[in-house]
Symmetry: C2
Subunit: 358 residues, 2 copies
């Protein structure tokens, strides 16, 4: 398999197989502050494991003084925290790149927000007593497959400092229910602000290591590489992005939107893993001119921020709507994507063509 | 937009937009007898409406003596029935046709099984007292869009006899929970054995009519038409189909399967809207020879039937697995699909390539 599409090539059968299994957030579902189960984006690398919760153990080990083997009941018995966090796939926007890296072909919809409940990762690690010399923590999922010709379970690492200071939890509930199978039942890692691949599902192993983890998902995949010779840098936190609810009504199957002449309120949500959202700009003329949206209530540091923008098209005609988020760290969405080998982190501004009709 | 793909054309952006919104059943989820929420296939023609349940009313009217306007509470107060039923999109298999009708590009995964709870449709109609001369019942959803250049809400009809004698319900629960938004919250029609388009979501109107309904989804879409000049016949019940859980482990992103040498048990499920499943045949050599699977427990007339088939590949090599269902009405899955304009009801046998490795 080649790694990018050839000139003008349509979506391949390989990409379609992934697109029919995995799914994004239908953009009208941006209306919900917490995404209902089944609408939150899902990406599964291998197969969804079917896990017996009674036999399940979370093994915490490696460079620690007191390795732990915890049942679900033991994890649930620990002090619980609940965090509402927006999660986005690092590959969101991939299918809008030219040439198109061949993998899950996301457009702009690989996102969702959930209420996750679990035990603090830092507290669990403190109980295991990490020894001096630990540098990273490796998280191992139960999902198994082949990738880059290597048979593996899905594994990612975090710097030790991030695990001890951050808001990360080992989560057993999503939106007040046990995790659905596709979101990691019975247990997953949730690391607020980081791209989806960090949030290891079907989490079964937490291992402190003394040298940087060199597994496939850390050393080869999920890195920004500008060409095949570039070793690249690992993806970490989510870049800012705003998305709008496509207004009016859609055509089936083209999804072209029709909006009536007259006042309407454009609405959407915006998020960033690097800092709170400080502004959203909206354009109704394809990016020639921009106006500032009104930000809605702040629903917590890790949850997307709602915004609205009044619009009143006065005559029939075609428009291209666009929106652009800015965060407190000074990051702004670019007009055009930065191409990279894996097709990651394309946070170029969303463009939504609409037809205004009488 | 042309209605079919051109020679060798890859999946188009139009199809991809649908594929990232709607999703199928990841085939490993055939392991669950009742599909967990979020894994059941979803097809939404327009946008998912956000419905205020307090303001919601189901209007039953048309050619009846006593029109009814029912709140959700009033519907829930009626005698409840719960049915476990397998539901499949009429477009399942579309993307495997050549040329490919351009719509939601399903491969083989547009299916799921749920426990639906609600009030019997026949009882509600009896209460409204259908007048002599009624021939059909039209079901109107709250989802609105444009299709075939006509602005419309999604509407489908059933023959009156089918509504009075069948097991259809107006459902407010799925798997013991309120309907998720994407499955029709707060109310949907469920007609066991019929293709998905029959099961109108966000159901707000039930109207008895005295002439056959000629709306878009009845007169133009969801018909088997062999060419553009063919008026065609409407789709009704699901043809038989068996699907198997792809064994072994997948490659990401190609999903090529690797299975170890030695015994394994192939498993899957089979269903038909025309009659109980009486047998499933399995091939491990691409359809040259077939053996009979063992049927598992019958989980009710409308639920898919589990099956197993022992296999013991003795040497490394490539295989194509296939399975084929037969029902009590004498229907058998064909080896090759019957092409039709809308790309409906392609129940040709599933083929799963696997690599047996040491």
């Amino acid at each position: 398999m080649t790694s990018v599409s050839s000139d003008g090539e349509g979506i391949t059968l390989t990409e379609l197989q992934l697109a029919t299994r995995n799914h994004g957030l239908p953009l009208e579902a941006l209306r919900w502050p917490v995404t209902p189960i089944g609408l939150h984006y899902v990406l599964v690398h291998y197969d969804i494991p079917q896990v017996d919760p009674a036999a399940f153990r979370l093994e915490i080990g490696g460079h620690v003084r007191r390795p732990l083997s915890l049942t679900l009941g033991e994890i649930r018995a620990r002090p619980a925290v609940e965090i509402t966090t927006t999660m986005e796939c690092a590959g969101n926007g991939r299918a809008l790149l030219t040439p198109r890296p061949l993998s899950q072909p996301w457009l702009a919809e690989a996102v969702g927000t959930a209420r996750w409940k679990g035990a603090r990762l830092a507290a669990v690690l403190a109980e295991a007593e990490v020894l001096d010399g630990g540098v990273e923590v490796v998280f191992t999922g139960l999902d198994r497959g082949v990738e880059g010709d290597v048979e593996q379970q899905f594994e990612r690492s975090l710097p030790l400092g991030e695990t001890l200071s951050g808001d990360a939890i080992v989560a057993y509930e999503m939106n007040g229910q046990p995790l659905p199978p596709q979101h990691g039942f019975p247990l997953r890692l949730v690391v607020p602000g980081w791209y989806g691949m960090t949030n290891v599902k079907w989490l079964a192993g937490v291992t402190v290591v003394t040298t940087p983890f060199a597994g496939h998902q850390q050393a080869h995949a999920y890195r920004i590489r500008l060409d095949e010779d570039d070793a690249g840098v690992p993806l970490t936190r989510m870049l800012p992005r705003a998305l709008l609810v496509p207004p009016g009504i859609p055509d089936f199957p083209t999804r072209v939107r029709t909006v009536p002449v007259g006042p309407c309120v454009l609405e959407g949500r915006a998020w960033s893993g690097w800092g709170p959202i400080v502004g959203v700009d909206v354009s109704t003329d394809g990016g020639e001119t921009w106006g500032e949206a009104e930000l809605g209530e702040d629903e917590g540091r890790w949850s997307w921020r709602p915004w609205t923008y009044p619009w009143a098209p006065s005559a029939p005609g075609d428009h291209v709507l666009a929106c652009r988020a800015r965060d407190a760290s000074g990051n702004v969405q670019p007009d055009e994507p930065i191409w990279n080998v894996g097709g990651y982190a394309n946070n170029a501004v969303q463009r939504v063509p609409v037809r205004v009709a009488d």
